[in-house]
Amino acid sequence: MVLGRLQPFEWIVASRFLREGRLQSLFTLLGVAIGVAVIVFMSALMQGLQSNLVKRVLTAQPHIQVSPPKESVRLQDAQDGALHAHRIQAPLQRFHSIDQWASVLGLLRAMPEVLVASPAVTGSTFILRGATSRSLSLTAVDLSIYQQIVNLSEKIVVGQARLDAGDILIGTELAADLGVGVGDKLLVQSPTGASNHFMIVGVLDLGNKGANQRSGFIGLHSGQSLLGYPGGVTSIDITVRDVYAAEAVAQRIHAQTQLQADSWIKTNAQFFSAIQSQSLANAAIRFFVGLSVAFGIASVLVVSVVQRSKEIGILRAMGISRGQVMRVFLLQGGLMGLAGAVVGCVLGAVALKAWLHMVRTPDGSPVFIVTLHAWLLVQALLLATVTGLLAALAPALRASRLDPVVAIRG
């Protein structure tokens, strides 16, 4: 085959050099492919695991909860400007309605990072049934909006997700403790003494025994009257576009409204730290695999420069510039990286599929959902190609600096 009409010189020489040293190129390519396969497999697995864990955590809670600011002691200055207090007692935190909550809600919904904002009234109540009583952590919401934050329909075990006036949804454990079911009525009493009868329209499994023992949901207006916040709300629940940016958004909300804004990252600090550690471990694995790939490519190219020094010398004598020689070797590194990455992506995908097929729960369903995103493959291709180019830098520089006289003489 005569030299391609549209191919640049560097491409022609680099591809021919690689083709000539077939066995050497093949082993290097395999080395890169295995490295990339490990990166693709590990990354997809860890991302699947992480998103599964995060999903489980966020499935029953908002990304951010906005509530009135905590009450604090306001100290008065003494006349000489000095403060005189041996001990300051922390004030009792009482439930308050968010001041001007409707305008705050409008402000939050206008933020580009916010997907959904749902007002709520929360409070502690008692359920009275015959001679027994149970404490109930009650959340009053507008179900049509709240469903977009916590999908209660998915958690219904019996009955339906509906919160008209006089309806209540309770956890499975609480229903079992009280010996009640759908259609039964409960008397719910607030700490202020106000009480109301509610009919159970659905029983929920919130995925946690404690939550199932003490949680209940009623309509927003019912909650406002029962808990003593007529026209008010005690919190606004928020879902944001990027769950990992929740803390930054919460800080912005606090800065703009002076209200307390707690992100899921803050309220689940230990869990989030574990997720971060996992990401760090994944990055470390990627780095070291990348490093070994780079050394593999570099060592092969260093040997190639030595083997081809006479040819490089003669090319230089014929008027080929240092830059062209350098690009020939850079291209070889890049091509080995790219070709290895293509094979590695296929290997990684096959390994992932095999793993998902083999590792299953006793009922035969996958342990968790793992999706191989296209961007992960693109990332792996780019990473391997750039690594190949960087690894080729030192050999390429060495080749370009060869003295043609010395190289030809050998």
Partner: protein
């Protein structure tokens, strides 16, 4: 011997009026400059080479012949003195400019052919011109084919260069050196590794190119028979040129 190669012919006299291809003025070359092991290899060489001249360079091993050839070929720089190629002062040029000038004005043939095994005969000949860019590939191919035909290797055009005999490989190297139609052809013992018959064939190739295109040839050789068939003989001994005569 053809008329234009006769020392006293009118054509030979005409050449003296032409601008030199190569001019060396008091060229000195030292290695390990500034170190205790510094050694001067060329001691103030003056040399003029005009278009169409066919010059043999002879001398014992280590006398500085190859160093002289490397300097004339812009592969090495003189430590002192001036070197003009086609009237261009080269000692002040940077590496990129030297490479550019070398690629377009000078062809090289070495003792070993240094063909690239990954390419065919045709591709090896085309390669320098493809590398210099700015030439249409079809035109390069046509020129390369004509050169391969002139060295008698057209049937081997698509054969890998590694599968040719030593003499054939050296003929390919000559064709490669001529692809840019250089005004100066430098050959460092090009027949040193060849049998008599192949050496003769390669020498005749140089002679043909010299006559057909007026290419100046500077041929380093240890072979007195070949040297006697050149137009001019330069003797290099201990880095000096004690002898420079028309043959």
């Amino acid at each position: 011997m053809a008329q234009d190669t006769q020392p006293n012919s009118p054509l030979a006299a005409d050449r003296l009026l032409q601008s030199p291809v190569v001019q060396l003025r008091q060229v000195r070359k030292s290695f390990n400059v500034g170190e205790p092991t510094e050694v001067e290899v060329l001691h103030g060489i003056d040399l003029v080479l005009r278009p169409g001249e066919f010059v043999a360079v002879m001398g014992p091993s280590g006398s500085g012949k190859s160093t002289l050839l490397n300097i004339v070929g812009l592969l090495d720089r003189p430590t002192q003195g001036q070197l003009l190629i086609n009237g261009i002062e080269t000692t002040t040029l940077d590496d990129a400019a030297l490479t550019h000038l070398r690629g377009r004005s000078i062809g090289f043939v070495f003792q070993y052919h240094h063909l690239i095994g990954a390419f065919s005969t045709l591709e090896n000949v085309m390669l320098p011109m493809v590398g210099l860019q700015g030439y249409p590939t079809a035109a390069i191919e046509q020129r390369a084919l004509a050169l391969i035909e002139s060295v008698g290797l057209l049937p081997w055009r698509d054969v890998s260069a590694t599968r040719l005999s030593g003499g054939q490989q050296q003929r390919v190297a000559v064709a490669r050196a001529l692809i840019m139609q250089p005004g100066l052809l430098l050959a460092d013992e090009p027949t040193g590794n060849l049998d008599t018959q192949s050496a003769d064939a390669v020498f005749e190739l140089f002679r043909q190119v010299n006559r057909a295109h007026g290419t100046a040839v500077l041929l380093v050789t240890h072979n007195p028979v070949l040297a006697s068939r050149c137009d001019r003989l330069i003797e290099v001994i201990d880095g000096r040129v004690p002898g420079d005569e028309l043959v």
